[in-house]
Amino acid sequence: MSFTKKGLGYLSLAYCIIAIAVVFRQFYLAAYVIPISLLFLLSNSLASVEVSGLEIERKLTPMRSFGGEDIDIIIRCTNRTDRDFSDIQIRDHVPLPLIVEDGLNSIPLSLQSGGTMQWTYRITAPKRGHYTVGPVSIQYTDMLGFFRNQVKRMKEDTFTVLPAMEKIGTLDLRARRVGVWSGQVPSRRVGAGTDFYALRLYNASDELRRINWKASARIGHLVVNEFESEHVTDVLLIVDSTDEGGSSIYDFDLTEFQLTLAASLCSQLLMQGNRVGLAIYGAVRAWVDPAFGKRQLLKILDNLAMTKTGRATVPMSYGVESVVVSLMPSKSLIMFISPLLNDETASVISSLAEKGYLIMCLTPAPRLVKGADSKTLSIRILSAQRRANVIRFESIASLIEVAPDISLKTQLRGNTRIE
């Protein structure tokens, strides 16, 4: 328990009045201290608060938010004691950079014995990540606020703001290696599918509707159409979030854009039934084993949400290659999302291509800048270095340059078919 500013102010005022009264020998002046001392006396003796029986619950909805979605926080206070609480201040700690969008995270509360009070406030997070709210602090003072006491209740609750996603439409993929389950990736094998693959002579067990009558008339024997079977494939997304200082050539938030791209691709690839894995290389290294389904999408998005840009602690050749080789069988499709700013990326991609992986590289495109001042020149030199890397990659990997101001759907349409 400590003096509040107000308490100290009142006490100072009382002693000032006494000092002035003594100095000027105006003893009637000292009578002004009587109301102040009475206030101290009554305020302190009338107030006695014991908040141990106050139960507080917090509920966050939703626990995961996508992009700019707001989070509603419901606080419920129940007085389990046999006494009434009056004028206590309940404050739920909302750390920066979270913003209280609507409602209040701090309210004065008065609760009768057994009473319950519930209120909601809404917060928003400026960007993706893991955030915590809390603890709830209960601040109570004596009746007039001369003394203050504060207790903290409840642990923090954590919620995740996942990266924003865009709808990118169906991805037309080709793969050297496909899984056993049917999907949307042509397998170069005869089976159930929609694309024409070959003709063969008619067997007694063939369906009549599969007979190609024109070809049969030309050859003189009954022939039937055969189709290419479609299966799922394994895809690994590698997000390069290292920052070696070259990201200044971009006039947008490179990491956020790369993460949006990765999240959108993962969502679409999983929706198409593929087995998708993720490896993040940057200040935080993480990987998610390839798997199917919605749960896998959430796992991937959770990992993307905690991505931090920065200098990597291990070499990329070790950090990426070791993960790829352990996670993915040879000939699998690897989608590399990188700004391609350093030479190490080129050597890693070459090495993976040599091991038989099919590489698709998606790289954010910087805007062209003109000018001759020192800053612009440095940006142009970095852009030229990047361009040189891009030219090197074009021979070993399929390369797609994506810009943030055009929809991903438009940019990826028809470009993802690689052999």
Partner: protein, 199 residues
Amino acid sequence: MNERKRWFIFTTAISGLFSLTITAIILSMQSYLIIGGLIGSVSVLVWWYGVFEGDSRKLQIGILLASFLFAFSIVDRIITNTLISAFPIQLLAFNLFLFNVEMMSLVPAHHKLHREVTRSIDLAQRSWKIMQRKLSVLIILFSGCYVITISAIYLGGFIYTLFPIFGDTSIYLTVVFVSLALFVTLREESTTDRYKKYR
């Protein structure tokens, strides 16, 4: 009556009370009434604006101006050696001033609930109940303070006529009150610390 209307009436009453405080202070002054009136008018305007906006900064400015005016009136009375004759009205002004200081912390704390948060009527009603309770306690407390102080002073005068040895009764009473208040405060604090230690 809806919450906004009720809040408007409440803030108007608070502002009226502040005007009454300033009037009491000006009435207790003997000279420089025009300067006092000017400062008082400014403080009343700032206070009104602060109350309706729920802005604690403006309320603090209003209180500071009022405290300056009050100090000025006290000095004026000390210089002219007429402190005793204006004592009841000055004490009333002092009590009202302290009451307004309480309002200064009460109004901004509840302002948001009544003026900005419209979706939770329940919260606004609870806040209104808290304020009602606090207001009634404050009114009783400050009226009590005024009555007790006046009684103490007149009792002091009565004791002085009987026993002239207790000439400085007022200062004596003051010191006793302050000591008692501090004693209770420190005792409370030490009890809490001891409780924490054994918990």
